[in-house]
Structure formats: structure tokens, C-alpha cells
Subunit: 387 residues, 2 copies
Amino acid sequence: MNKVAIIGVGHTKFGKLEDKNLLDLLCDASLQAIENSNTNDKDFDAVYVSCMLAETLNHMTAIASAVVDRIGLIPAAADHVKNGPASGGSAIKNAFYSITSGACDMVLVVGAEKMTHITTPGLITSAVATLTHHNAERVHGVSLPSLAGMLTRTYMEKYNVPKEWITSIAVKNHKNGMNNPYAHFQKEITLEKALASPIIADPLRLYDICPISDGGAAMVLCSAEIAKKFCDTPILITGVGQATDTHIVYEREDLTVLKALQICSKQAYSMAKKTPEDIDVCEAHDAFTILEAIQSEDLGFFKKGEGAKAAYEGLTEIGGVIPINPSGGLKARGHPLGATGVAQVVELVWQLRGEAGKRQIEGAETGITCNFGGFGNNILSILVERM
Amino acid sequence: MNKVAIIGVGHTKFGKLEDKNLLDLLCDASLQAIENSNTNDKDFDAVYVSCMLAETLNHMTAIASAVVDRIGLIPAAADHVKNGPASGGSAIKNAFYSITSGACDMVLVVGAEKMTHITTPGLITSAVATLTHHNAERVHGVSLPSLAGMLTRTYMEKYNVPKEWITSIAVKNHKNGMNNPYAHFQKEITLEKALASPIIADPLRLYDICPISDGGAAMVLCSAEIAKKFCDTPILITGVGQATDTHIVYEREDLTVLKALQICSKQAYSMAKKTPEDIDVCEAHDAFTILEAIQSEDLGFFKKGEGAKAAYEGLTEIGGVIPINPSGGLKARGHPLGATGVAQVVELVWQLRGEAGKRQIEGAETGITCNFGGFGNNILSILVERM
């Protein structure tokens, strides 16, 4: 299998970007990544675009071709990969295969979502809810916040966890986001304020939940053999895992276990010949605070039931034993659905290159992601290392 | 690069299938392909699902996970690949890479679309039109039939071609569809009747245009090394090409040249070390009759301007020099968007295995497809051979 390197990254501001449409976001991030990679237009064999709701929110179905055309990469192959909020991870995985197979040498991956122009109340929540099981969940009005509320309650009761341990994750991520110029929110919040914010899906409150954001993120991948021609500090993708769990959430043996994450992170660790102890930095999928707590367990950093406590005790802060979401995570960086999985790896690239500014984790050499699709039914984990 | 074999195929009836929803179609085709492959549930590493309009027409965004769950393939990786009416080709390409890379051994590809439940007039035409350029085409009311009408007129004038040569393609494809039990239409039409059918987009008439269909098609791919364990007659995928052209149709140098097809078919021929003369059977993308005429030129079978004449003279019939669309094509087999690219390769597998019944092309050993995405801005070509 050929080795794959990341030689350029791009990232737009995340937030409410009134003057940018979906194609602008995809192209802005792409052009940044290409400029950062020192490649040129002629080098690209393929483009993978990640976006979850382009049909519903943007009335567009040829976004991959549209990117290739607009940024001048014709005749590069163009595909749009969809996997809910894990679309970014899936796009990276397929781009990775296109290079490891030997079919492509140079590939652009870009993810984006344009959401904040939608003003109809509930439309986005209901569009996102199309990823739940159609007959057993969606038609009965199940939404993502309602599932996350149920999961939070179950976790608190099973492991005797006070709510403040869980909500402390939002406080940490807002603190990290302060130092990320691309983050949707760059302001600190206090635990007291978060615990007193409006209830959305009891026991989850407003500050336990990521915002609705616009934004794009991109990266240039190439075969590792040629990476040094373009870049002094290529970052290798050495592990990629993906696994599926039951679509219907109530069919899972234990709601507080993300079996798909256990399986896919094991695949990623095994492909890279690493263990959780080798990881210096992690970007997790904290669409809801509870998810980061549980993911930090199923990625192998903490025992079951101890993830929220670990966060509360500061073990996942920058400078802690395993820093999680130095970028600010979905909570503070924001969550433009199709961009998130790509942005997670972009943050790891900055960390491993030593370019993360005030949020830099000293000496970071190895990082891993959890990109969460569906409500845990389709998860990817990507492991990256310094070359 | 590992070699890839097709060891099982499945195909639902195409047509107006009132008692089947999208997930039924995906799962019915998948289960047929798995049964046909003699594999079992435990063997699958990944599933690639192709569908164009699941969000808009079916309110579903986790269809790949849903398939994996419902047919019992958990924890196989699940991705949804979108590329308009060429989604099927793109799904096959990425599944192919997942095996050639060495990452996967056994992969299911399934495509489907559920369309006929939509009764709002114009909704499907406008949903399909989301693949045109948003600002330069779609917002001005450009639709796919209008572009195809313009292309037909241009071709007729440039090459001095009478309309009956072009429409004869529909007559041939209906004749072939007579012998395809899975086809939407299994009845012959006469050239006189087709030429007198209602005008849709002058000079295109009703019988120049494919129907709106429900349906699914699937295949099991594995590394060629292990194919004979499961199947006596594996079919190899030996060439895969994909290319992008300008998104805006008026920006093309010559409207009657499908540059993306010229490039991607050259890639496929070159990967397989074949020439157009080596091809025994072709499945083309005749969403409109004019497309098959032009594709037969850009695939290298006829000179520019001679494709429609060749069809009229019978050269592309079963028994002709290069039979095109023995399945009945999109015109008679039907065109469930996400299923089409997969169904094209399924037909080639049946032809190469000698299982095509009354529409069998004697001694067929090599076949190629053209799967047309956008309005020619994103085309794939897949070349298959007997092992």
C-alpha cells in the first residue's frame, strides 16, 4: 500500500458568513490548501467533496464538478461523498484509498456546509434528523438533540456522573477556541453560566450543544514518495478506520458504548501500529458535550464512565495527559457539517507541524480523530503522524 | 495494484414499483447480489451506496448505514457516493480503489432511486436541474431536456443529420428492452410513432427521452485473487476512467464533443490496454437519444457526426459491429438515477457470463460503459473483461 501525506491545508473562518455561499466556502478552502501545498493546478488527479445537506439547504447536486471547474482543476475526477456529519472523514478515507491504490498521485479533499441562511425555524434540526432511522425514529419526531439528551441522562445514571463534569467539556472547548482565529466562537464561558443556560433536551442545555455554522476546510493529499518535493513538513495519514453500528439507537446493547468507534479506532491504531498511549492530540466530535466524554473512553484514553470526570479534572486540556479538541471542537470552532471531518484533520496537521499558535501542544507528533456520523451508527477515525 | 473481480450481481425490476421504498430497492438488489456471489454476511469490509436525490425525494441522509444495518453487514464501513446520474459509476470507482489499495477484500456496491411516488408536476425535473450551474443555468430555468434539445439541434445542423437517425436509437433500445425482464418498458415502438410523439424540447419528443423509474442494482466486488473461491465466472474490472468538463455548457468549445468522455474512456482503455476495436458490447447513457449517438463517437466507435447514422443503419444493434445498450438502455430499461451506473455494469456482467438470454451477444468478452453525470461535466467509463 502506498503511503499518503498531507502537504497542504486550508480553513475558512467558521461562523455566520453572510457573504459566502456553499460554493464560495468550498473554493476558498480549496484554494488555501492548494496554495499551502505549493502544487499547481495541473497536478491534481481527483477531488473529493464532502457536504451533508447541499440538496436540501442549497439546491445543488453537482458540487464536486462545480469545485473542479471553478478553481481550474479540469479534467480532474470529481466525487461527492456523503456520510452525514462524518462526510469529511469518509471523503478523506476515499481520497486516501485513491492514492494507496496507486491510481492517483495528487488529490484535493474539501468539505463545507452553508447553513446560517436558513431562517425557517426547525428546518435544520429536521434536515439533520433525516439521518435517524426513517420508520423507527424519524417519523416519530426523534431529533439529534433528543437522542443526545437521552444518552446524557443514561450516562449520568449508569456511572453516577454529575452534570457539571459533562458540561465542563464546553468550558474547556470555549477556552481553546479563544486561541483559534478560525473558530465560530472566540470567547470564554463559565461553568456556572453554561449550567444555567436554557434547557434544550433535558439534561442538555444550550451550552452543551454545538452551534449552526457556515464554513469550509480542505487538504491536499499526495503519495508520500513525492511529498518532500512540495513541502518541508508533510504529515502522514497512517491509520484509517470506519465502522457501522445499528441504525436504530435502541437496538444497541449499551447506549453508553460507541461500538463503531471502538472498532474503527482499533482499525486505525492497528494500521498505524500505535496504541492510545502514543497519541499526543485528539480532535473529537463534540456536537454535544456528552459525545466527547464517551468518545474519549472508546478511543481508549480513559476507562468507561471516566471520560467526563477526566475532562472535569483537566486531563484533556492543552497541557493535560491527552489534549482533546485544542481547536475548540465542534462546540467553539463550530460545526458546518460537511466541513467538520476535514477541519479535525486540518487542526491535527497544524498541531503536528507546530503551527497552532497559542493553542500549540508542545512536541505533538501523533494525532487521532473521531468523526461521528448518524447518531453513532457510522464513525471514522483517522490517525496522522509527523513524517 | 490488486486486480478486482465482480463475483455477484443483483437487479430489481425497473419501473413504477408502488410497494417498494428507497431502502427496499437498495436492500433487494443487495441481497440478490450477495446471494449470487456465494459469499456470506461476514465477508464484507465495505458498502458503497449510490443515489442522487435521497434527500429531496426520500428525506433520507444515512442510506449507506441503513443498508449495512438492514441486510446484516454490521460493522462494514458504509459510504454514500453522489455524482448526479453518474453516482453509480462513482460508487463503483471508489469501491474499486478500496480493493486495489489492499484496504478491502470484499465490497458491496448498490445504487437505487425511488422517484415515481413524486406526483408534484415538475418537481423531479427541477430536482434534477440542481446539477446544472447554479448561477449561469439553474436560476434561469435551464432543465436537462432543454439542454438536450439544444444539443440535438446543434448536432443535426452541424453534421446534416435527419431527426429519424437520432430517434432510431429509441426504437432499437425498445426492441432490446423487449428481451430484458428487468426493463421498465418491454414493448416495441415504431419509428413513425416515435417521430410523431409529443414535443418535449424541440426537436426532442417524448420517445427520445428516458422515463422516470424506480429501481436498484448491485454487485459484489472482491480482489481477483480470491474470486474463483466464490464464483466460476468472475468478471474483471480492468479499466476505470473519470473526467470533468466545464460546468457551464456554453463554455465548451464544441457542444457536440463530450471532452470528459474522450478523456475518461481513454483512461479506461489505457488502464486495460484495450482499444475501441476490442470492445464487444457497450452500455451507454441514453437519457436522451442524442446522447447515445454522441457517446458512440467519443467512446471511439465511430467518427464525429456518424454515430446517429451508424445507429440508423443497424451497426449498434445486437449482431451489429458494436452492440450498444442490449439491456434496452436508459430509454427502455429505465433510469432510476442512482441505479443506472451500476445497472450498466450488471448488464455487461450478464453479457460476459453468457447469461443475457434472448439479448445475448454471442461470445462477448469485453465491455465498456459510459455513465454521464451533470450535463456531460462529469463522466465515467468502466471497462470489464472475462477473467
